[in-house]
């Protein structure tokens, strides 16, 4: 692609070239009927595949990590098709943070529970005397369903939540370089205060 004449190096960008001749790429969203329709058609299948990989990880290749990544990629696709900023507004921060935090908490709870019952970390069979009659499961089944629980509510929650979060955090970028913050920082520098480098926004 680079053997094209450089007279329009910013063809795929937003058409603006800064004074130094460097094409600054801005995350400009271009509404595309093709991409939106494709994503709409593909999402149900990707979501189903991600859930299958997660839930069926004990018997087939896959598991919480791979499944969680595929589920997170659904949100990434939505963001690419419908715009990162509108997806950011649609997806509540509590969902993203909740997925990650609940994952760590539930994995920890399942793992440390047996220690409270006098067994080792993640010793799933320790739950048998407590929940065996309630759930109607045999002792060896506790290992399988315990592993499934760890894969689903532990790993898949964490990975899907954090990958979504990383995507939006990366897309938003450094809060220090946002215009209003930059103005603040300039003012501070004029006053000879160099605390801006250490997180001047704490004074806000």
């Amino acid at each position: 692609m680079s053997d094209e004449p450089t007279s329009q190096p910013d063809e795929r960008m937003d058409g603006r070239v800064d004074t130094d001749g460097v094409a600054r790429q801005r995350p400009v969203y271009t509404e595309s009927q093709v991409i939106m329709t494709t994503v709409k058609a593909v999402i149900p299948f990707v979501m189903t595949y991600g859930l299958f990989i997660t839930f069926h990880g004990a018997d087939t290749p896959g598991g919480g990590f791979q499944g969680g990544a595929i589920i997170a990629s659904v949100v990434l696709m939505i963001a690419f098709a419908f715009g990162i900023e509108s997806t950011r507004a649609w997806l509540a921060n509590s969902t993203v943070v909740g997925l990650g935090t609940a994952g760590v908490f539930l994995f920890g709870a399942i793992g440390f529970g047996p220690i409270l019952l006098g067994e080792n970390f993640l010793e799933y069979t320790a739950y048998y005397p407590v929940f065996g009659d309630l759930l109607g499961l045999k002792e060896y089944e506790f290992v399988k369903y315990g592993m499934e629980a760890v894969e689903i509510v532990g790993i898949a929650f964490i990975v899907s939540g954090i990958l979504m979060g990383l995507f939006f955090a990366l897309a938003a970028g450094d809060s220090h370089s946002e215009p209003n913050e930059a103005d603040l920082r300039e003012g501070e520098l004029r006053d000879g205060v160099d605390s801006a480098t250490f997180g001047g926004e704490s004074d806000d």
């Binding site: 680079s2 290749p61 598991g63 793992g111 450094d174």
Partner: protein
């Protein structure tokens, strides 16, 4: 993928044309990733490299690793890299390739030689007498007992979530910590609105 296959079933058949094609593809994409001057082109080629790697893993009967490489390496990493160049500059250029940095090539070549010198110590792919397949204490134990002890047909899952569950807990917490660290580095308090 059944975990209860006897290790001796796997036989080395030498290197097949498919493997040769995959390795050539991976080598070419790896070199092109380093050589392309345009960052966008390098990212796209890097995604192709990850995809080739995922196929190789699947070919060598490691579908769990292949899935991870395809989802994380080819998918999510590419998206993150694309986001990164969207936030930075992409200098226009006439050149298709980066000028070759010969000292760097020499260092990389030396490194490849050092790593390559260990290749002769490796057993052939699928060799039934290789230590990994004849070791009764670790591999043999998992392959023989994973299904009876955990009820999971995928021995990889039983190692990850049961036998080595504490490691997995640590890894999962590392992923969580990466999310927190990204917020700290970017000076933000929320991921989304």
């Amino acid at each position: 993928m059944t975990s209860i296959i006897a290790p001796t079933v796997i036989q080395s058949v030498g290197i097949t044309p498919l493997e040769v094609a995959l390795f050539v593809f991976i080598l070419i994409t790896a070199v092109l990733t380093a050589l392309f001057r345009d960052v966008l082109a390098a990212i796209v080629i890097f995604a192709a490299y990850s995809l080739g790697l995922a196929v190789v893993y699947t070919f060598y009967r490691a579908p769990d690793v292949g899935l991870t490489e395809a989802a994380i390496g080819a998918g999510v990493t590419t998206v993150f890299l694309l986001l990164t160049i969207a936030k930075t500059t992409r200098p226009p250029t006439d050149e298709l390739f980066e000028p070759i940095n010969w000292p760097a090539v020499a260092v990389c070549g030396l490194f490849a030689l050092v790593v390559g010198s260990t290749l002769t110590a490796f057993p052939a792919v699928g060799d039934p007498n290789s230590p990994i397949l004849t070791n009764p204490e670790v591999t043999g134990y998992y392959l023989e007992n994973a299904y009876d002890e955990t009820g999971a047909k995928n021995a990889v899952t039983s190692v990850l979530a049961a036998y080595r569950g504490f490691d997995t807990f640590g890894e999962a917490v590392v992923v969580f910590a990466a999310g927190i660290a990204s917020l700290l580095v970017l000076g933000r308090e929320v991921f989304t609105a």
